[in-house]
Symmetry: C2
Subunit: 171 residues, 2 copies
């Protein structure tokens, strides 16, 4: 074994965002990089499928999903918080979706600065189709995990989410 770059058979065979960590690195670093690898893996796959099948990007889909769960509409600031991005981004995404006819801004009486964003009928129709596929794709990707593994993973990520909440919303 003369190759000093060798970092283990598994890593060598399947390099990924985790593979720069060494086995003797602290677990939290390796855990984070593995989390990142998993989310990149899934996101790459979903992004491609979404684009090919629906000419849709992930953030636009996410925004429509948020609205689909809020029939009364959401304010821009609420969308910003839910999607964990800054205000200006939401304006941009909503602009695009509005132009495509999937969402609409509705002025609200009680506060004339803000408006409620809602799915249009066409937006709801579009989302139903996308959502069905999205769920199926996610189902396939997670299918190899046992029900028990999924539940454990869900709970553990819940702990992590609680932990990291305080410091992580972008300005």
């Amino acid at each position: 074994m003369k190759d000093s770059n060798n970092i283990g058979l598994v890593n060598a065979a399947h390099p990924d965002r985790e593979s720069w960590a060494r086995p003797d690195d602290k677990l939290d670093l390796r855990l984070w990089l593995r989390l990142l690898t998993c989310s990149t893996l899934v996101e790459n796959r979903l992004r491609t499928l979404m684009r090919n099948d629906f000419a849709m990007t992930l953030p636009r889909f996410d925004l429509m999903a948020q609205l689909a769960s809020a029939p009364r509409g959401m304010k821009m600031s609420e969308l910003s918080r839910s999607m964990m991005v800054t205000n200006g981004n939401i304006t941009g995404i909503v602009d695009q979706l509005e132009q495509e006819g999937y969402v609409e801004r509705q002025k609200v009486d009680t506060d004339r600065r803000s408006s409620l964003i809602r799915l249009t009928a066409e937006g709801r129709r579009k989302f139903r189709g996308m959502s069905r596929s999205y769920r199926a794709w996610v189902g396939e990707l997670f299918e190899p995990l046992s029900e028990e593994s999924r539940q454990q993973l869900f709970n553990l990520l819940g702990e992590l989410k609680e932990a990291g909440r305080s410091a992580s919303t972008p300005a």
Copy 2:
């Protein structure tokens, strides 16, 4: 309780990328969205810190990290695979890092099409500093998790990674 948009106290208090899922949605969907929330949470935090403290972006740091674990250098195609992005992106990132003096391209004799990318001395120095902080930040973010939780999470994400490997490298 007259608000039909209500999706539970926890969600209402801390909306995030997971909060459009309903409690009765399939676990795999909720699990995926929670995974996404966690990785967004951590990434947002690390991105801000990296920019503020080191004028560095996450992809550039990732690339330097890969190289730091490969003293002999890596080919562009290897970087592309490890970082799970397309070839052209790697060219762009390497170009920038080369201009900043952190990496260098070295022509290789055996195949004149390709070259080996390596950290320069300055790159190694820069990376050491960034790496120290990066590890500390990750440590803080994951600190609330017990050692056992981390280990479980690490193992479960390993399962997921194996599962999703087949279909997820971007073209």
